[in-house]
Symmetry: C2
């Protein structure tokens, strides 16, 4: 295997993966090499551009740590995350739709009783969130584990704030016997994704805005049901039609209603799908 | 732009790049999104696999530092580096061929006089390297800047050795009035690419060996000539036909000849191409 040219190198690289014991890994590596090479060929990538790509990915790697996941942000802004969600969440009609996981989930969120304030000190206008978790037949899913996380009035998640010693505006609740849940938090506001790193540079160079429409993140898990990772978006937000990460589903848009005392109320009911037959369809963790 | 599906999301993402002022960047981002999405679609990437990809790239980023470039290693082992070299180095017949840059080049190598020992203490059997640098018409390229770097007898480059305070087995020479050069160093030996990181895990999971055939790296620069980044490979090496990074060119294979005193001699003449008309064809730095 000497003297490989731009015309035969792709087949030579693929042949090198022929002995991969795991057939699925072999399939993935084969396709990855084909598409990676096809991209380089299509644009006739120069050596300088190749090196700038190496530098870009190095920066993405170096800014990523336990609290910031720039690779997920990159996947989100290139639409790869939402494409993957769409391919893997072809649920029956009536189920709540899924959307992107995002880079701000962290494990170990505090547990709360119904009615508690999950904001836990995060800045923002007071807001009550309530609803029910049901199955496709309309039956309550008692005991469903409901995890919620959101940004504060400044558009930042707790994990983005240096030196903050506690979880804020994130928490876990357990649905009651009627599938019901309710908690206090703060008003969801639109915010820019973190744009002080390489993904932000990419957005600026391509004249894309970094904004996401206001939303709450939810992950809902219950035995016998497919894990649901989704958002509830705030109706009327100016970025609903240009979400920087392509995550908006019309069915996930809800009204935040101003109450007489100045606080806010949003109600949203979730419908879980039956558990999938195959493994590997749960939360990406 | 709501309710994007797996069938229309790619066009929606591409449309988001429509206002990119730099036409070349727009072309690259458009093609990248098309091929990235096509890959995910072809293999029907699961959410768990997507997350494992994020974790893999995160590891590649975190092991990369000033002395180790795992993204280049990944590009090399997927054949992307050699494809890029092949597309951008379609030189006239008679020119020395180019090959991959590799992850072990560092700036600031020491300068040496002809005849000096660039090994500078690196372990290995003594070897003399000599030859000439000429242009396509056979004229000497006096004053050409010749940079060489190589691994030692243990298969490691100086930058891979913790705590080593000096450059070893790398250096810069200037070709004489006749284009000639000669220096002392150590015998080139085959070696495995660093396989204690995520790229090594990929090679093991796919039953690929990490070995490269013995070689010297050269970068040769001279005004009015195209920069040449190449290797000289050692004839007879068992890995010449299965180089882990796909870099072997038959024309770059030379004989290392054992001398009566037990040392080695290799002679290699380089032929530089004329300077390219367009910019951006030089060294990737």
């Amino acid at each position: 295997m000497r003297n490989l040219t731009q015309d035969n190198i792709t087949q030579a690289v693929i042949a090198r993966f022929a002995d991969t014991p795991d057939a699925r890994l072999r399939e993935i590596m084969t396709s990855l090499v084909q598409h990676l090479h096809a991209f380089a060929r299509d644009v006739r990538l120069t050596e300088d551009e190749w090196f700038r790509g190496i530098e870009f990915l190095t920066r993405v790697g170096h800014i990523t740590d336990d609290r910031r996941q720039e690779f997920i942000l990159l996947s989100d802004t290139l639409g790869l995350s939402m494409l993957t969600v769409a391919m893997n969440n072809d649920k029956p009609a009536g189920c709540t739709e899924a959307t992107v996981f995002g880079p701000f989930y962290v494990e170990g969120a505090p547990h709360y009783e119904h009615g508690a304030d999950v904001a836990n000190g995060a800045a923002g206008e007071p807001c009550v969130v309530r609803g029910h978790v049901r199955d496709l037949e309309g039956r309550p899913v008692a005991g469903a584990r409901i995890e919620v996380w959101q940004a504060d009035a400044q558009g930042t998640y707790d994990v983005q704030r240096e030196g903050l010693g506690q979880a804020q505006a994130r928490g876990v609740l357990v649905a009651g016997p009627d599938g019901g849940y309710h908690f206090r938090s703060i008003l969801a506001e639109s915010y820019p994704i973190p744009d002080d790193g390489p993904v932000g540079d990419m957005l600026r160079a391509t004249r894309r805005h970094p904004w996401r429409p206001a939303h709450l993140h939810f992950m809902i898990q219950a035995p016998g049901h497919e894990t649901l990772i989704t958002h509830v978006f705030r109706n009327g937000d100016r970025y609903l039609d240009s979400d920087a990460v392509f995550g908006v589903r019309e069915s996930l848009v809800a009204d935040w209603v101003r109450q007489p005392d100045g606080s806010w109320l949003v109600e949203y009911d979730f419908v879980l799908n039956r558990a999938p037959a195959a493994p590997g369809q749960g939360a990406p963790a």
